[in-house]
Amino acid sequence: MELLMAVVIGVLTMCGVMMILRARTFAVMLGLTMLSYAVNLFIFTSGGLTAGQGAVLGQTAQYTDPLPQALVLTAIVIGFAMTAFLVVLAIRARAELGNDHVDGAELKPAQSLPKKRGR
């Protein structure tokens, strides 16, 4: 199970980082979401992985650490709100800047933009 978790977290992080390095807000947003999934799983594993045990004392012989579950819940809620905000901001940036480049600048073949950087 540890190996599976490690691989999943690793792959998610890798995809997230790759997407974040792209120049479009939508891709970056997806990347951040994937990264936050990876982070959430990582928090979840930080208390150690135990299968089939309760998080409340006295229910089962052994118990699993309940704190990471509480932490991950907080992290999910906050991450969700932040992503929602980012989506709205990205839509607004698309409307105000005229394109979805993270720097708001885009080199078009027909048009030269002397002062702005291209991607």
């Binding site: 970056v28 928090i43 594993t45 930080s46 991450g79 992503t83 980012l86 105000e96 800047l97």
Partner: protein, 496 residues
């Protein structure tokens, strides 16, 4: 009054929530009144906390009365009381300035201001790492809203970068917290400090990576060298009251560097001295040098002031890395001074930009100002304060910083960079001042739209800087006590 510790978090929360109620949505005036009363009460509570903390006893506030390492703990000692009070004074200045009409250029300014205060105060007061993350998010989401306040292309662009970078920072923060919890099994800073001593070599490696991740997060907040790129454009794009308020945001990063690392590595200081401090020294020094170049190269006054904020961060981080009690105390004094004066400058720059028509704050020759003597004198006073010339607070702060390094083997590097950057700032500010006030065109001056509130806010912030000189002895003593207390907490770490 044992509950006074949590009041700096509760008051802005309640006031901010009340401001959202429908009856208050009708009139801007009543919103201003409520928000103003909230800030006034906050100032009073901060004064009370400051006087309470000055006896040198740390007050722990157990939320929900859960016993210490399990529940969330708030800690009021001299340093946190000092920073919370500083935030309140700054908020008063920004609030008064915003009342001239800026707060009505977008929705919910006053509410967001209160929620930002809640987040900042919480971040200063908490002694629990995950709680620190939550308060970071509270202050960040309010700061996103405030940064975009008023709208416009530049703000949207700067805001997008700011939001993306901080979301990434939050993800890294969570990774660091999960690592720390996985290794030590606790999130209470002082409890972690005790548990660190019992770690094996392998676990210590994990702990080091967690510390490195935390360094990245706080470095991003404080805007230390490779992570500073968001700061100049974000601060230059923000509306003036917001930019003034943001002057304390970088200090949160520096405060966390101080608080978290000093507390976590209290029992095992070798980690701090071998690993964190050399990194801070070099990045701080480079930030300082780069910010000085940025100040000279800035094309507009707002950007210039934003680079001044960066300069103060570089100075603080560099001196902090020396790590002695004197250095920490000097940094505390300098952070009060630099926050107040940077905020005053942001407000003043906007005030004079209003009188320059379409040129605004760009550093080119333009029409004369309507009241050049008044604004010029204020600018001159701000400039000599920020450069560190006598007789204002910058001088005291800078001398103390230089003095604090006398024992350190790295003093030459610090003295050279700090004084060199001061010279560059002197040149840049003289050039900016003469461009704005003397190299004026023949056009008639625009009629002065002077608002008494805006002027009052600027003068309030500058007066607090003057007070720092008049009351230099007690303030310096307080800073020294605060630094000593931090060191003492280090030694007795986890006894709470």
């Amino acid at each position: 009054m044992q509950h006074a510790v949590i009041l700096p978090i509760l008051i802005p929360l309640i006031v901010g929530a009340l401001l959202l109620l429908p009856p208050l949505q009708q009139s801007a005036q009543s919103r201003r009144w409520l928000s103003g009363v909230g800030i006034a009460v906050l100032l009073a509570v901060c004064g009370w906390n400051l006087s309470q903390s000055s006896d040198g006893v740390s007050q722990y506030y157990l939320l929900g009365n859960w016993p210490a390492p399990f529940g969330i703990v708030l800690l009021l000692d001299q340093i946190s009381a000092l920073f919370v009070a500083l935030t309140a004074v700054l908020a008063a200045g920004a609030f008064i300035y915003s009342c001239a009409g800026e707060d009505e250029r977008g929705a919910y300014f006053q509410s967001l201001l209160q929620f930002l205060l809640m987040g900042i105060n919480g971040a200063f007061l908490t002694a629990d790492l995950f709680n620190l993350f939550v308060f970071f998010e509270v202050l960040l989401i309010s700061s996103y809203g405030l940064l975009l306040h008023g709208g416009g292309k530049l703000r949207t662009k700067a805001g997008l970068h700011y939001v993306l970078l901080n979301l990434l920072g939050s993800a890294i923060f969570l990774l660091a917290l999960a690592l720390l919890y996985g290794v030590t099994g606790s999130l209470n800073m002082q409890d972690i400090a005790v548990r660190i001593t019992a770690l094996s070599a392998q676990q210590l490696l994990l702990l080091k990576s967690a510390a490195a991740l935390l360094l990245i997060v706080f470095g991003l907040k404080a805007a230390i060298l490779p992570l500073h790129f968001w700061l100049p454009s974000a601060y230059a794009a923000a509306s003036p009251a917001v930019a003034a308020l943001f002057a304390v945001m970088t200090k949160i990063g520096v405060y966390c560097l101080l608080r978290v690392f000093h507390t976590l590595f209290a029992a095992d200081a070798s980690l701090l001295t071998d690993f964190i401090q050399p990194l801070l020294w070099w990045t701080g020094l480079l930030t300082l040098a780069l910010a000085a170049i940025g100040v000279v190269a800035a094309q507009s006054l707002k950007r210039l002031v934003a680079y001044l904020v960066l300069l103060s961060v570089g100075t603080m981080v560099t001196v902090l890395s020396i790590g002695t009690v004197a250095a920490v105390a000097a940094v505390l004094y300098y952070s009060i001074h630099s926050t107040l004066i940077a905020a005053a400058l942001f407000l003043l720059v906007d005030y004079l930009a209003q009188q320059r028509g379409t040129v605004a704050d760009r550093l080119v020759s333009a029409r004369p100002l309507a009241n050049p003597v008044l604004i010029g004198s204020l600018f001159f006073l701000c400039a000599i304060t920020v450069i560190g010339m006598p007789p204002l607070s910058g001088f005291v702060g800078k001398i103390w910083l230089l003095q604090a390094a006398t024992e350190s083997p790295q003093r030459i590097g610090l003295w050279f960079t700090l004084l060199g950057s001061s010279l560059l700032v002197l040149i840049a500010l003289s050039r900016a001042g003469s461009t704005v006030f003397w190299r004026v065109s023949q056009q008639p001056a625009l009629p002065a739209q002077a608002s008494g509130r805006q002027l009052a806010a600027i003068v309030l912030l500058m007066l607090s800087s003057l007070l720092l000189v008049l009351l230099a002895a007690p303030v310096m003593q307080f800073c020294l006590d605060a630094a000593l207390q931090l060191q003492a907490n280090d030694v007795s770490g986890g006894q709470a």
